[in-house]
Amino acid sequence: MSVASMSMWCRASCRASSLSLLVGGSTGPLLGGIHNNALVRTLSSSSASAAATPAAAAAVAPEEPPPVEVFVNGESVQVPKGVSVMQACDAAGVDVPRFCYHQRLSIAGNCRMCLVEVTKSPKPVASCAMPIMPGMQIHTETPLVKKAREGVMEFLLANHPLDCPICDQGGECDLQDMSMAYGSDRGRFVEEKRAVEDKNLGPLVKTVMTRCIHCTRCVRFATEVAGVHDLGVTGRGGSAEIGTYLEKALTSEMSGNVIDLCPVGALTSKPYAFTARSWELRPTESVDATDGIGASIRVDARGHEVMRIVPRLNESVNEEWIGDRGRFSYDGLRRQRLDAPYVRGEKGAPLRKATWKDALEAAAHGLRSTPSTKLMAVAGKLADAESICALKDLMAMYDGQNLQVEGVTPSSDAADVRSSYVFNSTLERIEEADAILLVGTDLRKEAPLLNSRLRRSAVYDCVPVASVGPDVDLTYPKKDLGDSAKAIDDLLSGASAFRAVLDGASKPAIIVGAHVLSRPDAYGVLSKCVQLANDVGCVSGDWNGYNVLHECAGRVAALDLGFVPGPKADVATAPGFVYLMNADDEATLASIPEDAFVVYQGHHGDAGAARANVVLPGAAYTEKGATYVNTEGRVQRTKRAVPPPGSAREDWEVVRALSEVAGLALPYDDVDGLRVRMAEVSPTFASVDSVQQSTIWLNGSTYAASKGSSKASTAPFTSSISNYFQADVIGRSSKTMARCVETRGEMYAKTHDVGSTLGELGEPSAHPLGD
């Protein structure tokens, strides 16, 4: 807790005011007295990232703020100036109970659980909201503190129902835990408890509002992090309640996080309700593969079933949030699964269940009997790096050079320079950007977690954001420059006013959406973007603000492994044999001629399997230890939480088996051998969980040699995702996601119109609450 809270503090202070000193790279020495090593680590890492540009560091941190010495239970602690008493206690390793305080949210100070005694203060003070003073003597273990906290706990429990045995929060409930320390074994409250009407917040969040202790974490999360002003406190005093006033579902793509934030059982997961108790679950620390962010997750399973997915703390990727698709689409892992191989006897015949032997032989026959010029393989959005590498090697054995990545216009240019297809600035450092241009992306749908970071920049740091692309509500103010390549031309020529903003920025960033990669004129648009990045100085020193945002987990790995058409490939040739690795996109399938022999490998019976002649069942991301590379190029590994269903196998094993059946066995027998091979192909795979900085930047000439590079059509830019909840086969198979789509449809139809007389009174600011 302390680590996170400290790092958040750094952010909060630097955003709030002149206290930005602390992030400037000079916090190291003042931490000498802090006992908590983790804290030192966090602070120095944040300082390292900020200090990496010497000029910027010098500008931000002209001098060191002196550390402040306070005493927690008599022990001296050196803490940065301006932190709260609670953070000083955290730094000293002293635990302070809390409900309303959360390190990533504003301070509310309304639960009063964190009361501590401060010498010379006549009353106990709420440590979360009290700033430290030099020489402050803080006591957390005195009888006064204990009695005060017991009093608070008694009031909290007065109206809290005694339904822990049927509460989904039971076993992982802050109130339950703290009542063990501060609760009484009996209450003095003999009157009737109050009861509050439950709210319908949509298909994801279940409410039992009588349990609510009004910490307002959910309200603050929705307002500050998610950027949707849906939740609030209505009424006051004994009749205060949390809700939306008008009944409506939460409109955020990261609404599920309020479930984790709720310290009691008032907000729980609707799909998970009453399905398991927390202590029955087998946790597996893994990585989310449902989008390009690659959030750190914990997969909680019971037996062979994934019961829920929750986020893990990972400051550099997802902080502690995950999107709703990553959290709730797990029920799609149980439906529509391919649990056995299938073979289609002849054209038009239905797929029939087959043995692995028959299926592999059928696939091998198709592979062997097709001339190499007509071989084609497609790496889909959910494909893992191991299977892509194995498939690439397999295709190489048969000299099949037509390798394509789903969602990328086939061209060898796609994977030439790593810095041209990854999110170079990294997700964490995008917050350093001081001007941001979005090209062809709807961040809210493609990467809600990144959108929340950008919201923080745009709203709290007033970073100007402009968008060339769909006109959508990103929850923060942004300037719409148009939706076609002409807007980029205007930026290049200086005709657009935003060009001056980008020019004036010291760390400008351009975020190119995956939609651009899939356009027929992809390389024309991309070369313009790269040119613009170069012209406005997106790349200087250690800052590379040219970012490509991928909306799926499989693409960066495929590009890293060079899964692009080879030099002899002619993508115009109609393929006779197509190997679809987790590829289900309409566009992909539409490009396959009718008489082609299609092998589909994947885990869901979706569009790809329906088209296939041979279906080879693979494992979903929760069922294999596989490598995924997120949009910033971070190599991450999932772990097997549950086994694949039926006779499905891990994907690379399927390719390996096929290679053997086909007659030319791949030269690795285990996953370690394969990973060595991956590291040979691309060194980035050698180090897991880190981002290998792409050093090569061709000064804007990345696509100079590309065919038709100067041409860009006038087709409007859209988002690569039109339906957030059903963007992949897992989401499409999920009932929960289907319910979300249903709710959202109604919701969007209901948004009311803002009248026309606004002009007289001036435009309303988008964020009136000072945020």
Binding site: S106, A108, G109, N110, C111, R112, V152, F155, L156, A158, N159, F189, E191, E192, K193, R194, A195, V196, E197, D198, N200, T210, I213, H214, C215, T216, R220, T223, H229, L231, G232, V233, T234, G235, R236, G237, G238, S239, A240, E241, G243, Y245, L246, E247, K750, H752, V754, G755, T757, L758, E760, L761, G762, E763, P764, S765, P768, L769, G770, D771
Partner: protein
């Protein structure tokens, strides 16, 4: 609300609720801090939430709380879509008016029945068009101009007040949405303010809103008799109810700051929109005064009644002055004009 769970609080006896609210000292003033929270904090209602933890406990009637929820009837009236309980006769209500079969309220004022918007009200849905009149837009612009443009939200309370006056004494959802749009606030932030303050009505009221002060000094000086008198005179309406002719709504208010002239009632006049709006206090009520006031309002309009104390000029002692009988001995105010001249020099 598609999946509304059974609201236990629909059995809350209204009177019990009010009396306990008073007992625990909640529901009173404390306006200023809340306003600042509402306007600047982004987390409106924190003050209220803190109060919920520490200050008051709403009491469900013991007998009712365990009664299984049986009735599926929903009142179609605009004032309440809550389920009407079949029998409240056995309720041990603290007042003589225990015949009340109205179900109760979980909201802060005694007129509205919930802190939540009740669905299925044709005239109170976000789809209804609502806007300020031209004349009121002048006022709105004048009020908004008082605040810096990035703190426009500070005008939310005065704007809601104007909206309520214009809208016959109550705030519809679309009126609140309109205020939100004008001030560039999120709708929810406006709902929070409107539900927090007892003087904002979120369901229809009569043309005259009679508010009986029920806080301790008034209660000691006979506010319950005033209530009983009015209630009987208006044909048995209770707190939160309106007369069938739509002329009067009776509500209970917390302290309105006239303790020295207790007991008192306040009457809001919504007969003539914003222009004719008045909000008058009638203090030092003797038996019969309340009825007389109501009758003269009925007959001749509100202007025919003496405003303020019914027995005194203002709030001087009843019989004779016992203090401040001589010229105050000083020290007197600083001679500010002289001071200012000194500073200038």
């Amino acid at each position: 609300m598609a999946s509304r769970t059974l609201p236990l609080f629909s059995c809350v006896a209204h009177n019990t609720f009010r009396s306990h609210m008073r007992l625990f000292g909640s529901g009173g003033g404390n306006g200023l801090s809340a306003v600042s929270g509402a306007v600047s904090g982004g987390v409106v209602g924190v003050v209220g939430a803190a109060g919920a933890v520490g200050s008051s406990h709403l009491l469900l009637d013991r007998g009712l709380a365990v009664r299984p929820f049986t009735s599926g009837k929903k009142s179609a009236s605009a004032s309440s879509t809550f389920v009407q309980s079949t029998s409240f006769a056995s309720l041990p209500l603290s007042r003589s008016t225990s015949s009340r079969d109205h179900v109760a309220s979980f909201s802060t004022n005694s007129h509205d029945h919930s802190n939540l918007h009740q669905p299925d009200q044709p005239d109170n849905s976000p789809d209804v068009h609502w806007d300020f009149t031209e004349a009121n837009y002048d006022k709105v612009a004048e009020i908004v101009a008082r605040y810096p443009s990035n703190y426009k939200a500070a005008a939310v309370i005065p704007l809601l007040d104007i909206a309520q006056q214009q809208n016959d004494g109550w705030l519809s959802v679309s009126a609140m949405n309109r205020v939100a749009a004008i001030l560039g606030m999120a709708d929810m932030r406006v709902y929070e303010v409107a539900t927090f303050y007892t003087m904002f009505n979120r369901s229809k009221v009569g043309k005259y809103h009679l508010m009986v002060c029920g806080t301790t000094p008034c209660m000691l000086r006979g506010s319950r008799d005033v209530y009983a008198e009015i209630s009987n005179h208006l044909g048995g309406v209770e707190f939160g109810d309106s007369t069938p002719d739509g002329l009067f709504t009776l509500s209970e208010m917390e302290c309105m700051g006239c303790c020295v002239n207790a007991p008192m009632i306040a009457v809001a006049d919504y007969t003539n929109g914003t222009e004719g709006y008045t909000y008058n206090y009638y203090e030092d009520l003797q038996p019969g005064d309340a009825v007389r006031i109501i009758d003269s309002i009925k007959d001749k309009g509100i202007s025919s009644v003496k405003i303020g104390s019914q027995t005194r000029g203002t709030c001087e002692p009843k019989d004779m002055q016992t203090s401040l009988t001589s010229t105050p001995p000083g020290p007197f105010c600083r001679p500010l004009i002289k001071k200012e001249a000194e500073q200038k020099a």
